[in-house]
Subunit: 327 residues, 4 copies
């Protein structure tokens, strides 16, 4: 296989109000603001040595412009470009210099219609991991993963594992043993991307890694103190699937962010993917709490990489849109 | 004032299955089992130097036999006995020797109909605070408080503050400035007892103190691992009122236990009670989460101190049985 | 007994550089700065509802002006004044208005020569406990205790327990069963004041309470990030005596501050003081670490309440100035 | 490059007393005991899905038999065998079946004289990550790294990075810019192996990953409660180098174990190795604490893979055996 992906790299989000966004992401969640212009805000976590992992663009409509993966070398981009063409996808190049702080990128509507971007190069910045005096809010350490709602999880699963070299750590199966959701990784964590059955293509959330569970509790306290309690959608809780300690919050435009801590190493080829029945009450939250309807129904619209128009959303292949269980 | 109460002392609970109770309280929550017979189980927290703070009795019906306060001296019991008579209450004595490990106790149906017990003396036992090798589950440290549903909170409030020397740390007011709930203390914490408007008299929960927030998270994980996820009723979360980090669990008989950590010192006479509007969404859970209906509707039946029969429950004085808010 | 003391109230410290002091106490340890002038800085913890618990005065020489206890009522001050006279001590009054934000105070060189102050009244301020967005550094919650080096611990012990109503929670005994150190409390925690055998009278440290162990770890990280690693003198560790999780830091003038968390409730008259042999290696640090010599030898000079001159220091009654043990 | 190493795999330690070893590793540190015979004890961490990561063999003398790396496939073993021969090393095969629960292994005295073992296959076992009811002590999650004292760090560095595909995350340089120590990784963490200048070849410690900082504090408390305070050699503290929160303990035979939490992701080829000057006081412990002499001087003897006799130890190339700094 060519076109080696390293890891989840950055998300490019359209938001409508920079003042609100800054208060939420920087002041409350504790992202580092690398730099900002009137229309672009570049954010990163405390351990990140690259320029940004979250790029906010000020636009009239909230949407997802791109979810990006970092690859090893520039030639991996060429290999991925070739692969896209072979697979009948229609990639485009954005040349170096057209975007701030990042080398040339390859963008393509992937097999599920998601706006995926690949890049090999991003400017280095000072890593602030040991600037503990700058820690605040959730003390976000680094980007971890994307979670996407797609019409056909099995199709996405096949493409990412067979063509892009992802491995599966855990998955959710329906009673008919159809794959309802799958957690796939390149870096040896539970996931770089998860696909979940639902109206799609949409981005469900971007996950960021925290250093410890108490940082997540403190994040709740800070969010509430700053008036964001209505933005706390789900958690804190322990996921059965992934074992992560989690919190889901909604940014002022409704984009969902997961604060995430506590999964495990998935480096081994003999690690057997863990199966969860869709109606296992401990799957979503190990402690048995049900997720709210909004968590299953709401997600961010994604854009067409060529037209920058919203991509049409379609009903999923599997009918069950949400686990059902009685505690 | 005579009849000096020190603090919340012990709860006497009737449970129906000792095997289940032991698995829940000892194996899962981490209570220390001081001793047990076929019909009585004596439990305590890790820092407790007295014989027990939770007495379980095996009975056919789950109920609350007594909620007990420790007083300074035996003569305080006499003073309380006298006071009961003056107030028209009908106290009874249980002489020393009639109950295991405790001196003579005074029992009385209090002004709300709750089965209250006072005692001055309890056997000492080895304190296990530094036996960290015995820590498990929630690592319960000590008993902290009772929370009671009563018909008339203002009546209970008046009696406990004016006759029994309790001070108010925080309270909940209706829009008409009636006291809907009140947190009252003798020891300088947020409460030894709280009264909440509702069908009563019933015991809503017994609160136990944990050493740190992560012990509470670990308690959730252990409970879930042992199959008790359906027993996790509410939380973990941060209370607005009291600032405590909390978890509510239901024992196998439905008695509610609060694991509790993080309130503050209330020693000062110039501390002004904190008022919360009943419909403030941050009152119950600072992070904005709504409590489930069961938390407002369900509570444990209490017994008559003389007949050991259930005390009749009546509708509350204030109509609003539950806060209402839209997040 | 009259002259009821509630708790440790405030410390009045002389420091030589306000810029350094502010960076240390406010920016690094996270004290709230209630107000400041050119010569006085008033600091408090996050849960404190009184104006300050730490008053820094800018002076040419670092010293301790007063260690203060809060009493219930103004008439308790009169009773304490009378008691001082009876005991042959020479108290002075500082009238209300002479000091900022505090009522009249009674100051006296106590039985050990320590500059003790009593007060009943201090201005109220907004409690910031739930302003989690303001939390930083050690997230100091409240003042907890004083630790004093005195010539004659048994004399101080007798006076504080017999005349001032303190109770002993734990103590250190020499091989000859002399009291080498004692932890005494009014509020039901391990201590409001401890006396330790050594050259005295001197103030060894002021202890502040933290909400949880990770706040203490974070304090170390923040202190180090801001260049204060040489100020971290001892810890983090677990005290055997008191069971507290602790850190000792030295402020820019050498005054010692303890960050402290995790002791236990000492409300009960039947709680038996815990004895530790002076050479028990788990007494100081439960994990067996030895304290550095500076911790045993260095302490802050105290002032005469009348002359504001340094009080002469004398050698202790017991020869052993420091525990000796071989791990 | 062929012979792809995944990660640190297991350590094979000789210990002299199984009763003591079990009490230390299983009862106190919380390792899971997969299985044991009279002469072999197989231990693993809570998240590990392979049979063991720590193999203790009962022998007359304490020593290190092997430090093992897991490779992707059996053919990687052949490639490594070929490479060893090319480099003039003398590898030996241990065929499948000769060792319990593991496939064939390749053993070789590496370029520093360390007894290295490679394997591709190990039996799978039930992963106990979500059996929170089994968590105790340090709650060890998984093996993380080896730290080795070698005569010539630069030689080891060159071999591991040029021949074995390791990347450097951080390193320590002398004033003459010689590499005094280096942290090298295959999995994207700070290290799978570190080499430190000193009398060698010896194994300095085996590092195990913990889920959170409080598990490490609890480990100290449990070790002390069980009488192991003399076994706590260094920490808890924050490493400057690696940013990890650490504790070093010595097992009953003196083998050093590091409990480790909180490093960062090192997946990126553009991550620039971080340089630390050897005398930087924040290098070892970010908080400025000096390590005890034993930490620099004592390490475990390693065995010859062919003769099973101790490998001779020689003085290091660089004279400075220990950082020197004045706080």
């Amino acid at each position: 296989m060519s076109g080696e992906i390293i890891r989840t790299g950055r998300a490019v989000l359209h938001v409508t109000d920079f003042e609100k966004a800054k208060d939420f992401y920087v002041e409350s969640l504790g992202f580092i603001e690398t730099e900002s212009t009137e229309t672009e805000m570049y954010l990163r976590g405390l351990e990140e040595h690259n320029h940004h992992s979250l790029l906010l663009k000020k636009k009239k409509e909230a949407a997802i412009e791109a979810i990006s993966y970092k690859v090893y070398t520039d030639s991996d981009l060429d290999a991925l470009h070739e692969q896209c063409l072979v697979e009948g996808l229609e990639p485009i190049w954005i040349e170096k210099g057209a975007q701030q702080a990042i080398g040339r990128t390859l963008r393509v509507q992937d097999v599920s219609g998601l706006p995926v971007e690949y890049y090999a190069e991003m400017d280095g910045v000072e890593r602030l991991l040991q600037r503990y005096d700058l820690y605040k809010g959730a003390r976000v350490q680094r980007i971890d993963h994307f979670n996407c709602m797609v019409r056909d999880v099995e199709k996405a699963y096949a493409f990412y594992t067979e063509k892009l070299g992802f491995a599966c750590s855990e998955y959710t199966a329906t009673e008919e043993e159809r794959v309802w959701a799958a957690w796939l990784h390149r870096k040896p964590s539970v996931h770089d991307v998860a696909f979940m059955n639902g109206k799609g293509p949409r981005l469900h959330h971007v996950g960021f890694w925290l250093s410890d569970p108490l940082a997540l509790i403190h994040a709740c306290d800070v969010l509430a103190a700053k008036g964001y309690s209505p933005s706390i959608e789900r958690g804190p809780g322990r996921h059965g699937l992934s074992n992560a300690f989690f919190l889901y919050v909604r940014d002022p435009d409704g984009h969902r962010i997961e604060l995430y801590n506590g999964d495990y190493l998935t480096s081994d080829p003999d690690f057997k993917p863990i199966r969860w029945g869709i109606n296992d009450p401990m799957r979503g939250t190990f402690w048995g709490h049900e997720a709210p309807d909004s968590w299953f129904n709401e997600a961010s619209i994604v854009l067409d990489v060529k037209t920058q128009k919203p991509v049409e959303v379609n009903t999923p292949v599997l009918k069950q849109g949400k686990p059902q269980f009685v505690i």
